[in-house]
């Protein structure tokens, strides 16, 4: 049969961000997918040569609109490692709280978009309504809804008082109640199951070979999570990665849904164990040497390589985002799918393209 080549993206109704895939079709079945990256490249890494290392925090926050706090956290951890700064315990716990709030809002955003991808409009709106409460918590505690800008080298800029902690817990209880209400729909509704179960299966062995990260890897049965390395305060609280075995789009959806509930638990633990003390430790000198850091972003493992030269500017900042790591597994699971299932499967990796292309 004659083959057809179909461009999927960069502008496509289902895509929140401009991913471009060249799909080779035989009838309606995908036989090959070739990606094209670079559509929204902004050259943010290069800015480290003209902005000083403290100003770079605000720049790396803008690498990704959804997980800004975790980019800044990863960058700050790298700089702190190079300068030998001991972050105060209170700051580490506050970073955990804000980082998990970011994961919650990112996953809820994705759950909504995913529901929208298979045409479940009301579920999409319910997810985003719940998310709004998480955004409110961030606005009230950090001063902004998305770009929270709380991380600085050596600690955090804002504090949580007892009243705010109680208010956060109160709001999280409502979020949890709302999530429990939509749980049965997300996990067992006929529409959700028929569009996601068995679609885009990534076998366990292949997931590891192709270097999948985050919910993509955990959906295929691997209990791997960068939070296990114990960055910020994760070493001091109970944490077990969420794992699903099936490796299909449904499994990835379940992983993300369970991770939202897990994040609520982590925030509760973080607030309960919040120690008293300073917010910022003084950083002396200029960053010199090399550092690599990993944190768990909502989409998977985020990796930073930073090289300093003893001046206020850095030599190199290299950012490897989780979507970049998840593109090869995506290309492996697309062949064999029907064209109508491609949008759902592409969205199931939670692509963040402006993050990937920086």
């Amino acid at each position: 049969m004659a083959r057809t080549i179909l461009p999927f993206g960069p502008q496509h109704p289902v895509l929140p961000e401009p991913l471009h895939l060249k799909l080779t079709l035989e009838d309606e079945i995908v036989v090959e997918a070739v990606p094209a990256l670079g559509y929204v490249h902004r050259g943010l890494e290069k800015l480290c040569e003209v902005r000083d290392y403290k100003q770079m925090i605000q720049i790396v926050e803008r690498v990704c609109g959804i997980c800004s706090c975790l980019h800044a956290l990863c960058y700050c951890e790298g700089i702190e490692q190079m300068m030998g700064v001991e972050v105060p315990p209170r700051a580490r716990f506050l970073r955990l709280v804000w980082g998990e709030l970011h994961r919650m809002h990112s996953h809820l955003l994705w759950l909504g978009l995913f529901a929208d991808a298979f045409g479940f409009e009301s579920l999409f709106m319910q997810c985003w309504r719940i998310r709004e409460r998480v955004m409110d918590i961030m606005e009230a505690t950090c001063g902004n809804r998305v770009i929270v800008s709380v991380n600085v080298v050596g600690g955090v800029r804002r504090d949580l008082d007892a009243g705010q902690c109680a208010w956060i817990l109160e709001q999280l209880a409502i979020v949890e109640k709302d999530l429990k209400q939509i749980q049965s729909t997300i996990l067992s509704d006929y529409t959700v199951c028929s569009r996601t179960k068995g679609k885009g299966v990534l076998p366990k062995e292949q997931a590891l070979q192709l270097g999948a990260v985050g919910p993509m890897l955990r959906g295929s049965g691997w209990a791997q999570d960068a939070r296990q390395t114990g960055y910020s305060a994760f070493g001091e609280i109970d944490f077990e990665p969420v794992v699903e075995q099936d490796g299909d789009s449904y499994a990835r959806c379940v992983v993300r849904f369970r991770e939202v509930l897990q994040s609520i638990d982590l925030i509760r633990q973080g607030i309960a164990k919040l120690p008293a003390g300073d917010l910022v430790a003084k950083a002396k000198g200029m960053p010199d040497g090399e550092a690599t850091t990993r944190v768990e972003q909502p989409r998977g493992e985020l990796f930073y390589y930073i090289k300093g030269n003893g001046t206020k500017n850095l030599d190199r900042v290299r950012i490897r985002t989780p979507t970049f790591a998840n593109v090869p597994p995506l290309l492996a699971i697309l062949p064999g799918l029907e064209l109508a299932d491609v949008p759902v499967v592409v969205l199931s990796i939670d692509p963040c393209i402006s993050c990937t292309e920086r």
């Binding site: 605000q58 001063g143 800008s149 800029r157």
Partner: protein, 142 residues
């Protein structure tokens, strides 16, 4: 069917989830970084904000006592507010409304020591030195 009836009744009796936007506006929480304001009479034109600003939207002229900010380049991170030694910079809750034309915020204040032709050049230099000396302390804050 029973669940649906329950939901329908509940939705009919509870308040709408949405707001009638332009009529009913949701306020902002305290501490929201909405708009950057400068109380120019307290400003000492030390340029800490200009040096710290990641988007380089602030220009300070310490000789003429001019403080300028490009609100369309500003990223509202609040770094300048933290760096300000006299706390003349602040962020208010209300954010800027959209406009058809871009403009600069231009504030004219009184420079700390006026450098005029009649003033002794040494005194003016000393004043500048004192201002510069105050800078490193502030720089360590963030």
């Amino acid at each position: 069917m029973f669940t649906m009836t329950k939901n329908v009744v509940r939705n009919l009796l509870t308040k709408s989830s949405t707001r009638l936007y332009p009529v009913e506006v949701r306020g902002h929480f305290d501490g929201y970084r909405g708009r950057l304001d400068n109380k120019i009479e307290d400003c000492i034109f030390c340029r800490s904000c200009q040096i710290k600003c990641p988007s380089q939207c602030i220009t300070v002229d310490n000789k003429l006592g001019i403080w300028e900010c490009d609100p369309y380049a500003c990223v509202y991170c609040g770094i300048c507010v933290d760096a300000c030694p006299t706390h003349c910079l602040s962020m208010s809750k209300e954010h800027r409304k959209p406009t058809a034309e871009k403009s600069l915020i231009h504030l004219q204040g009184t420079p700390k020591k006026k450098k005029t032709a009649t003033a002794k050049p040494d005194e003016a230099k000393d004043a500048e030195k004192a201002e510069d000396a105050a800078k490193p302390e502030d720089a360590d804050q963030s």
